[in-house]
């Protein structure tokens, strides 16, 4: 399953990194503590968070994540969007709360890790 498959089936908006939509999604992770994501998310994961701070891009890049979903209607900061664009990180937003997004991801076949 690719990021694009997920974007097509879930209510997600692509705000940056559209070139990376073909990336394969290996699993999912959810956390708002970036220190925790750095230690536990696996490469290829799609990550659900409420944090819109620019550090999410660096963390996603370091961990080799397939995409980041900023959930709950949180708005990624301007610097976050710019950084995601320049570093080629797929940044998605949704008005759905994290719990609902994770539920939908699970239903569409994305499992933990």
């Amino acid at each position: 399953m690719t990021v694009n498959d997920i974007v097509k089936s879930l209510p997600l908006t692509v705000v940056a990194g559209g070139d990376g939509l073909g990336a394969e999604v290996t699993g999912g992770y959810v956390s708002d503590l970036l220190s925790n994501v750095m230690g536990h998310a696996a490469a290829g994961n799609i990550w659900v968070t409420m944090q819109g701070h620019q550090n999410i891009v660096a963390v996603a890049s370091l961990a080799g994540l397939a995409a980041v979903i900023v959930a709950g209607g949180a708005v990624p900061e301007r610097e976050t969007v710019a950084k995601a664009e320049s570093e080629g990180i797929v940044l998605l937003t949704t008005a759905l709360p994290s719990f609902a997004v994770v539920g939908l991801l699970y239903q569409s076949g994305v499992k933990g890790q």
Binding site: D32, L33, L34, S35, N36, V37, M38, Q51, H53, Q54, N55, A58, V59, E77
Partner: protein, 247 residues
């Protein structure tokens, strides 16, 4: 004249819902004077209402009060904003008040938020919930505090919650941060090795007191400085102009 000042840069009063009722400004000042704590920064969560009482209580003592606040940013990062003058804190508080979530505190669940005077009399109960994140970002907070002449210290970076490292993984570049704080669980010396993410930022420690026992037993800093001001403390932290941290 250069001398040694013992400083506790992180102390909560009864305004913080998590602090014990014994943490009145008068009681804090009384214990500071008795135990040789020269500088006390009053740092309640997202508010500064008890700073005037602390300044009044310290008026006829040797204790220096630094007006401050422990701010919770949008990212749920806690930072200490410290000022020299109350008017700087009040200007900052106006910014904070405009960025609080506006929910009411439930004293039964979170604890009461008491505003008191210098004689321990209850002035008011703060109704707004203070234990909550502002809508201001960490970067905006650092920048605006610096613009007002204050300095910002990232709170308890060794803690698993509400610290810049737990919330954001590492310290974002370009932040107007003067230092990072470690809690009593860590020594300043051990911090640089354990947390390479802090880079060259000076490390401070403080009691983060919520009780008098915390205040007396908790860690403090000792600065060798000419006068008890933030400009002097900053020089001590960066070890310049013969100012420094002493133990």
């Amino acid at each position: 004249m250069m001398r040694r000042y013992v400083a506790d840069l992180h102390v909560h009063t009864v305004l913080s819902p998590c602090a014990a009722v014994e943490m009145t400004p008068r009681n804090i000042v009384w214990h500071a004077a008795r135990h040789g704590i020269d500088i006390v920064a009053i740092t309640d969560h997202n508010a500064g209402d008890n700073v005037p009482a602390a300044l009044a209580a310290a008026k006829d003592t040797e204790v220096i009060i630094l007006p401050g606040m422990e701010v919770e940013t949008r990212e749920e990062v806690h930072v200490l904003a410290l000022f020299d003058k109350p008017r700087q804190l009040f200007a900052w508080e106006k910014v904070v008040a405009a960025h609080r979530p506006g929910r009411k505190n439930d004293a039964a669940k979170f604890g009461a938020q008491f505003v008191v005077d210098a004689e321990d009399n209850l002035v008011a109960e703060k109704e707004e919930l203070l234990l909550a994140s502002l809508t201001l970002s960490l970067a905006e907070t650092c920048e605006q505090v610096a613009d007002l002449g204050g300095l910002v210290i990232a709170s308890h970076i060794d803690r698993p919650a509400y610290s810049v490292l737990s919330q954001l993984g590492f310290i974002p570049p370009g932040l107007e941060l003067t230092a990072v704080e470690v809690s009593r669980r860590f020594s300043c010396a051990a911090a640089a090795e354990r947390f390479p993410a802090i880079g060259n930022l000076p490390v401070v420690t403080a009691s983060d007191a919520h009780t008098i026992d915390d205040f007396l037993s908790g860690p403090k800093m000792a600065f060798y400085i000419a006068e008890p001001t933030l400009a002097e403390i900053r020089q001590a932290l960066y070890n310049v102009n013969s100012r420094g941290v002493v133990w």
